[in-house]
């Protein structure tokens, strides 16, 4: 009885909700992580998407924009479930978002099989850039290998002779380690892949001791999320700032920095990372984005947010180029491929696998004029860099 009652209630409300769908609008589904501690990233993306929509007045050309946010709970099967809902029930025109590679890989098929457009605003697994590339997939972020490759190149450029690598033992962690090893010409004195997953290792005392003992010139790490904060703290407590300068990817960003600043972890100042964007980039689109974000939320946006903002602008450029004719998928695809919009990282072009060909910069953690900790671009490491998997894509 209870089961039937619940089910009838759900069906009834679903019927009511479908009835309220509008005709002349473009529907965008956005999948990100809103619960679990990683929800801070999703919050950044959500804020940026909403800011973007406000900047364009919730209109793309003549069409109203309807945004549906879904939470993947950091789990691939939930991400897929929510994606299925967006595709099958809400019948969205574009599906965007996806922080995590494994969630994207689990969900991609649902979108692409339905001949809908998939815009990744962060995840960049090699499969979707290479063998499994698809005509309806576009990225506004990067391919996972590029950022660590840029770091290896930078280390060569400044003459670092040896490094010690620490990263979590999962696919992205290994990618980050392999990426830097593929371009770094010096010696890798040691590599530690620490336990990851639900019971992730957050006490790095053992590995930091090994790193110090190895005599390497510098320390290269990848520790996303809360592991990043834990790592920086322990790095500082071990007194390594003066012995082994810190180079990171995807560890220190605008999400982690306010927390680190509040806790007084000055060990992070002066550390360096590579990324395709920084809040201090000087172009009109970025200055507007960062200033408004700062004003509204009291902190700098992160690269996750920047890429999400771009995703909305990319979609807008395509919708307007086809004068709102969402049914003409070929025209939309062509317009997306043209990437004819002012990205906050500056204009870029798409490779054959629909991954951006863009610059990568070396950023350093500094305090801005108001004393807030943020990142600043020091130099350009790669210009118009294309990811190494484009050759595997048969498009």
């Amino acid at each position: 009885m209870l089961v039937k009652l619940i089910r009838t209630a759900i069906i009834a409300s679903a019927i009511i909700m479908t009835g309220m769908a509008q005709a002349a609008s473009v529907k965008i589904g956005f999948v990100t992580t809103l619960t679990t501690p990683a929800g801070v990233i999703g919050e950044d993306m959500k804020n940026s998407v909403e800011l973007a929509l406000e900047h364009i007045g919730y209109k793309m050309g003549k069409l109203d924009v309807e945004l549906i946010m879904e939470d993947d709970g950091f789990k691939p099967d939930i991400g897929k479930q929510k994606t299925d809902k967006l595709v099958k029930q809400d019948d969205v025109d574009f599906v965007a978002g996806y922080i995590w590679s494994h969630v994207l890989l689990a969900s991609a098929k649902s979108v692409l099989d339905a001949d809908k457009f998939l815009i990744s605003a962060n995840a960049g697994p090699s499969q979707i850039a290479g063998k499994r590339c698809d005509k309806n997939f576009f990225s506004t972020s990067w391919q996972n290998d590029q950022t660590p490759m840029a770091m290896g190149e930078y280390l060569n450029q400044v003459g670092v002779k040896s490094i010690y690598i620490m990263a979590p033992n999962y696919a992205a962690g290994k990618d980050m380690a392999n990426g830097v090893e593929s371009t770094f010409k010096g010696q890798v004195k040691g590599k530690d892949l620490t336990k990851w997953g639900a019971d992730a290792q957050l006490d790095f005392s053992a590995e930091l001791a090994k790193a110090r003992a190895s005599g390497a010139e510098a320390l290269y790490v990848f520790y996303p999320g809360k592991a990043g904060g834990a790592f920086i703290k322990q790095y500082q407590q071990a007194g390594l700032q003066d012995k082994m300068p810190l180079y990171t990817v995807f560890t220190v960003d605008s999400i982690a920095l306010p927390k680190l600043q509040k806790a007084g972890l000055s060990g992070v100042l002066g550390s360096k990372m590579t990324q395709e964007w920084s809040p201090d980039m000087k172009n009109q689109a970025n200055e507007r984005f960062v200033a408004d974000y700062l004003k509204r939320h009291g902190k700098y946006p992160s690269f996750y947010g920047a890429q999400s903002y771009d995703a909305i602008m990319l979609i807008k450029s395509a919708v307007e180029a086809t004068a709102g004719n969402l049914k003409d998928k070929d025209a939309i695809r062509k317009a997306l491929m043209a990437a004819n919009f002012d990205s906050v990282r500056g204009r870029y072009t798409y490779g054959s696998n629909h991954m951006p060909i863009q610059n990568f910069y070396l950023r350093e953690v500094v305090a801005d004029a108001e004393g807030r900790w943020t990142t600043k671009i020091i130099r350009t490491v790669y210009e118009n860099h294309q990811d190494p998997h484009a050759k595997d894509c048969k498009m």
């Binding site: 039937k4 099967d77 696919a171």
Partner: protein
């Protein structure tokens, strides 16, 4: 109409099965095809819950590692598919044999313990499976493995479309229910249930309870691996996540919510769990709080789960009957 179930609970369950059988058509008619996905997922978990109930409910063996068999079943689809072997019978044979072997070995060790020790050791074994798959980089490790195409069966048995997969799941569920029913009412079942209540007496009667329990454990694992095989086909994606102890815990709850040691309890419990999860998460991001409160309230105030409630209705009806 004597063949109709007489009790309130019996009639409810019969009605439930009818609705489930007709679900694709009902959902098509009201134009909500997405809910077929939800039901499919719920019924797959229902098969797993029914299998768990066999050892947990009827046998009193609380396993906190049953999700490992869902994982094994799913990887038995995923790994062959990775090498482009899509034959459905191969997948099924692999799932059944691998899960049976693993259950035989781990069960033989685990069943030498009882109570909380059994809980812990089953959890330990499933964690070991979890970590093993986590380290298999070739098959995606924690990024998971994408399955690009479903298990292949002859055309009339194909599971390619959502509807046909749904009927596959429904059929396996009916088989699992039927099998459980026969098993429990046969002598085998009576030994298992008897051993739950008083093992010494059963042994005094000359039954080797250890062997019966081991057989029960292996059977339960095999049914669960079929759920895993269907799950792999349904999501098209497998990762070690699905075999963690928290997933095993969720299975236990589904069984308890519905009512342990009952035939339909696990199915009802799973449906309530999945639908509640879907419904609540649409309302608020903090739905875990409501869910937690419901769980606590259920244990403190609701004895016997949903089946217990239905049984009380049965008795009331009989009293007034």
């Amino acid at each position: 109409m004597n063949w109709l179930p007489a009790s309130v609970s019996g009639r409810s369950y019969a009605a439930l099965l009818l609705v489930l059988a007709a679900a694709p058509f009902i959902l098509e008619w009201i134009d909500q095809p997405f809910y077929l996905d939800l039901l499919s997922r719920a019924l797959i978990l229902g098969i797993a819950a029914v299998s768990l109930n066999l050892i947990l409910g009827f046998g009193g063996m609380v396993s906190l590692g049953h999700a490992a068999y869902i994982g094994i079943g799913a990887y038995c689809v995923g790994i062959p598919s990775y090498y482009d072997y899509y034959n459905g019978w191969l997948h099924m044979a692999l799932a059944l044999s691998v899960s049976a072997s693993f259950a035989l070995v781990t069960g033989a060790i685990s069943l030498r313990t009882k109570g909380v020790y059994f809980i812990m050791i089953t959890m330990a074994f499933s964690q070991m499976v979890y970590f093993t798959f986590l380290s298999l980089e070739e098959y995606g490790a924690d990024d998971g493995l994408v399955i690009y195409s479903r298990s292949e069966f002859p055309a009339w048995l194909s599971m390619d479309s959502s509807t046909s997969l749904y009927y596959w799941i429904f059929a396996v569920l009916l088989l699992a229910l039927f099998f459980t029913h026969r098993l429990v009412h046969a002598r085998f079942g009576r030994v298992i249930v008897g051993a739950k209540f008083n093992e010494q007496r059963m042994q005094a009667l000359g039954f080797n309870t250890y062997r019966y329990r081991l057989a029960c454990y292996v059977i339960s694992a095999m049914i669960c691996s079929l759920a895993g095989m269907l799950f792999g086909n349904f999501t098209g994606f497998i990762s070690p996540d699905m075999m963690g102890w928290a997933r095993s815990g969720e299975l236990i709850f589904m069984v308890i919510i519905g009512g342990v040691a009952t035939l339909f309890g696990p199915l009802v419990g799973t449906l309530v769990f999945v639908l509640l999860e879907e419904f609540l998460s649409a309302i608020t991001v903090y739905w875990h709080l409501i869910f937690g409160i419901l769980l606590v309230a259920l244990v403190l105030f609701g004895k016997g789960g949903i089946h217990g409630w239905l049984s009380r209705l049965d008795r009331k009806a009989a009293d007034h009957g």
